[in-house]
Symmetry: C3
Subunit: 335 residues, 3 copies
């Protein structure tokens, strides 16, 4: 493994092996495995879990980290090729990203979608351009259309909970004050499909996942014994669900149009996951969410504070699986 950019770069078997490594490092810690190794963390967007869990994972393996946050202690960066840089950004990523890579053994990068042009965001061109500038291993800490660390942690959470491979996994749209990126829904639907689950994407009209995201998930399902479908019918989706994975995202019909998006979602206040959503679900149906979550907008207190919620385990597993990723990318085999 040279980079960790997308679960789709690995086979199902390779992911299962990576999760086994995560388990092994929990059971038998290797506090010196990455002694002397340095992880550079470059954030173009805010972070809580990723910021803390990457540093913690590195420390548990004996390595160290440094953090650079655009606009916080350093400046803003230019990303457009050929730009005449007479505006606010003081440095181009074509300089800044390779420079940081000199100072570390692996680079983690978080760079959200522009949220203006769907095709550009779907192409992952900004992230791929940056990753291409670096000769060290790169870890995707959330890009325009992917969040493989979250997806891997969620996969482990499903395994920890002994959720059957063929269980019904419902990715449900949830309300939010703003139009959020497609990274987590795209990564989640693909992960669940790759795990071999029966995946239903539940979302109101105007929020259908783009064809490219659905096709990728369907290919993963076909290769691994799962299924993927999409619906706006909440009763149909939730009936018999083993997992409800709540996630907020922006209108895809009006991508980049904040006003049209706000008009659509003004009528969608009932897309806040409540206990009543689980009335026809499996008895032990769990609520998943990648966090941060808007309480009583996306998910009600009663659900987050109830026994169905496994959001803390998901967050904990971020550290666990990232330790495995770092170990795989950076550890030197012992002979």
């Amino acid at each position: 493994m040279n980079h960790f950019l997308d679960l789709a770069d690995s086979s199902r078997e390779q992911i299962v092996e990576l999760l086994a490594l995560a388990d092994r490092l929990q059971t038998r810690p290797e506090p010196q495995a990455l002694a002397g190794k340095i992880l550079g963390l470059l954030f173009f967007n805010p972070s809580l879990r990723t910021l803390a869990s990457m540093q913690a994972a590195m420390a548990k393996l004996g390595g160290t980290s440094f953090v650079v946050t655009a606009g916080q202690g350093t400046w803003q960066f230019e990303t457009r090729r050929g730009a005449v840089m007479n505006g606010a950004p003081a440095e181009h990523v074509r300089e800044g990203v390779p420079v940081l890579s000199h100072y570390c053994d692996a680079v983690g990068i978080r760079a959200f979608a522009s949220g203006t042009d769907l095709d550009t965001d779907l192409s992952e061109s900004a992230f791929r351009d940056m990753a291409g500038l670096v000769s060290k291993p790169v870890i995707n800490l959330e890009s325009a259309i992917n969040h493989p660390c979250q997806a891997l942690a969620d996969w482990k959470t499903l395994d920890d909970l002994k959720v059957p491979r063929k269980a019904k996994f419902v990715l449900s749209w949830a309300n939010h004050p703003r139009a959020l990126p497609l990274a987590v829904p795209a990564a989640t639907v693909h992960m669940a499909a790759m795990r071999g689950m029966d995946v239903v994407v539940l979302r109101p009209e105007g929020f259908a996942l783009p064809g490219a995201i659905m096709r990728k998930a369907m290919e993963a399902a076909a290769a691994n014994g799962g299924t993927v479908r999409e619906t706006a019918d909440r009763d149909d989706a939730l009936n018999g669900a083993h997992i409800v994975y709540a996630k907020e995202w922006g209108s895809t019909t009006h991508y980049g149009n904040a006003e049209a998006d706000a008009n659509l979602r003004a009528k969608l206040a009932d897309w806040c996951v409540r206990d009543t959503w689980f009335s026809t679900a499996a008895a032990d149906c769990k609520l998943m969410h990648c966090l941060p979550v808007r309480r009583n907008v996306a998910v009600a207190d009663e659900v987050l504070d109830g026994k169905r919620s496994v959001v803390q385990r998901e967050a904990y597993n971020r550290m666990v699986v990232q330790a495995a990723v770092l170990h795989r990318l950076l550890s030197t085999p012992q002979h």
Copy 2:
């Protein structure tokens, strides 16, 4: 010791033991005592000493730290129970604080008073709520009404200076452009009382310490041979003082009312500690301050740059005593 939230959670003897541990770690460093341990630092408010000295203390014991600062690289947090989160804060502390605790062995939290409702601030409800969400040891890095790391460092400073237990300790209000929280004055008056000193709180009218703070200090004094009283008479207070501890805080009569507070303090420009304040004090009377200090507003240059000032020793002792706290909370006994 499971948490470090308030000196009042310990007996005087336990504090004396903790200070002895601090001394021992200075004399005989234990650079591997916390090897492999991780400290998470969560700041809801700005910091200089705490930010640096906690990381340094952890490093001196072989451990590592990560820092999360609300609004700086991460988002703002919601603290109100039952809030419908459709405003600026992206995450509730009910998620964020437990999540961070998964990634570390102890959590330090700084969360200042709201400064709007005195009873709420006195109740420490916000901090206690957060501490209650965490199953790891919690260190109070300054809460609404307490700052035990500062108080412990100040106690050690008094010991270092061989200030007698029964010496006269004057906590004096000092001027400042804004109404500052009650955390340090509350912690200071309690610490000096618990050490068994003769404590005088000197403050102008309108700035009396709340009854709950005074009662707690008086109980500590009664149990440990000290006394506590309050006065607006500067001559009386400073006469024979062994310590003048200068501190700024907001009007308690007009708590949360910035305009009324400003009107009061407009007439209080002479509450800037100057050399003349020490004319009737003990010959070797020292000036203490927790820092940061507004030069020539709260304390004059002549005092801060003179031989009475021990503010640098107080700041140095932050690192020293915090190392003892971390050692007590996190070290595994060696057999």
Copy 3:
């Protein structure tokens, strides 16, 4: 070596020895040389390379670092002696800098020029005041008029490229949207002179380097076999150049006058280094720049992306030479 403030504090021979140490640490790493040592990094201004490369250099030697950034997680600082601190800055550097020095074994400080009064900035009084407050080794991470870490990295880059001692080194002014400080041009012209090179400062009228900077460089040249001259004639300067070191700085004729500076530079858009600049240069002439660089304003894409550019090697060498500086300042001789 007690501090690292200015290359001029060392002899040419001492710099050559320091660069040999840098080479040695690359060839034979010493991952435990600074075990248990702590570096405090205090930034009054934004940073990318310095922020990351100092932490990386310290980690490679087994030490740890903490970072404090004015206004980012901590407050703004007052620097004026005798100030009545009733404005925005919450702490004076006279308190803050010594406090931080207690928590570490060496302090790195970045504090840019005020950009208002040339004589004050040339005097380095603000930086010298701060360094004078600290009893630990101080590293200059860029002051009003110096940037010795950058100069040392550039010297090593010249050595790595086997650029002859007597080669023609052209420091060329380049365009920028704003008036930048004189720190890098001052450090660069001095470094190249001290290395013994034939230095030409190429700049338009209104941007002549101040006499004090030129005199210091000429003294270094005289002592070490180099030469220094200044010109506005680009053809003359670039003819036969072995190195073109592009750098942006503000008008010295109109120092601190943003409007007059902007008027001058409105006519200087052609001071963007392009391939055509190298038509009469030496065949293997290289482009150097300290970064960050405004692409297509200061240097064109065609040059930065072409084979002449060595900006990435300069950035890499920041970490390499800083490791040597840290080793020299902090390592304890082994017996």
